[in-house]
Symmetry: C2
Subunit: 183 residues, 2 copies
Amino acid sequence: MPGIGRKSAQRIAFYLLERDRDGATILSSALAEAAEGIGHCSRCRMYTEHDLCSICSASGRDNTQLCVVESPADVMAIEEATGFKGLYFVLMGHLSPLDGIGPEELGLAALQKRLREDGIAELIIATNATVEGDATAHYLAEMATRLDVQASRIAHGVPLGGELEFVDSGTLSHAFFGRRAVE
Amino acid sequence: MPGIGRKSAQRIAFYLLERDRDGATILSSALAEAAEGIGHCSRCRMYTEHDLCSICSASGRDNTQLCVVESPADVMAIEEATGFKGLYFVLMGHLSPLDGIGPEELGLAALQKRLREDGIAELIIATNATVEGDATAHYLAEMATRLDVQASRIAHGVPLGGELEFVDSGTLSHAFFGRRAVE
């Protein structure tokens, strides 16, 4: 499991066995329930216990803006950081032909259907700033353009608090050529 | 000195004394020459041994673009990363009223003069993405606007290779609201 190696695992196991058997039982049933009960939102593919996730079923969200991300963790991060009030679509990965992950695995047919039918004005592409994320972003942007939906991509550049001297040259180059006019 | 604490200093000193006295002499005279001979470029305030630095005196640079940075290290970073062919202005710091650093200490009168007289079409503001860098950027942008020069600022956002999940929320928020339309 991420962040838990062999030693940490042993420590946790012995701790539960020695001091907190009740906790172990509770954790066990919570895990079983989660493994059993949590599926994907039928609309945005986010994790949920219901047919629709809490965001898709919330009232008062702006359904003209759709933000595409790679993973459920990204949804949480954007919700916390930005106060974005639109809807999401979770790819659950990125295009990676070598690993056999194509448009089908990412549910792009469902996304295309939403772009066509749901009256979406802007597709905000928030895939990672990695090579695979870039390739996926290009694919999504083309799809949106074909369907006459405005696509936009979140900004890449110097991170907040960053000093130019310590930023890697790829980021600096992107930031420089991605400069924007100050009004 | 940055990166060299008490122990490293002692190790270097003993190394030079025990094994490389010639090196110590060479280093000593190089330091003395540098301390004596290196001043600031009269045009852009970059370090140089001459009146004009190698960038200001180079032929073939585009003198309609002027990039403002906080430190000489930033000039080196941008030169290496971007292939930018315009000219620079080095503030040698940022606005910081509490430390007594105002427009005068940053040589902004000279910058203003260049904006007015040198036929500059774009002022590229590449101060750091810190609070002080932001304040300085605002000041510079206002100055440029007053003088009818287009100001632009390098992009802030997710660094290259960055995954959304691991980016701090301030940066993510900036990246989200700084998103740009894909053509």
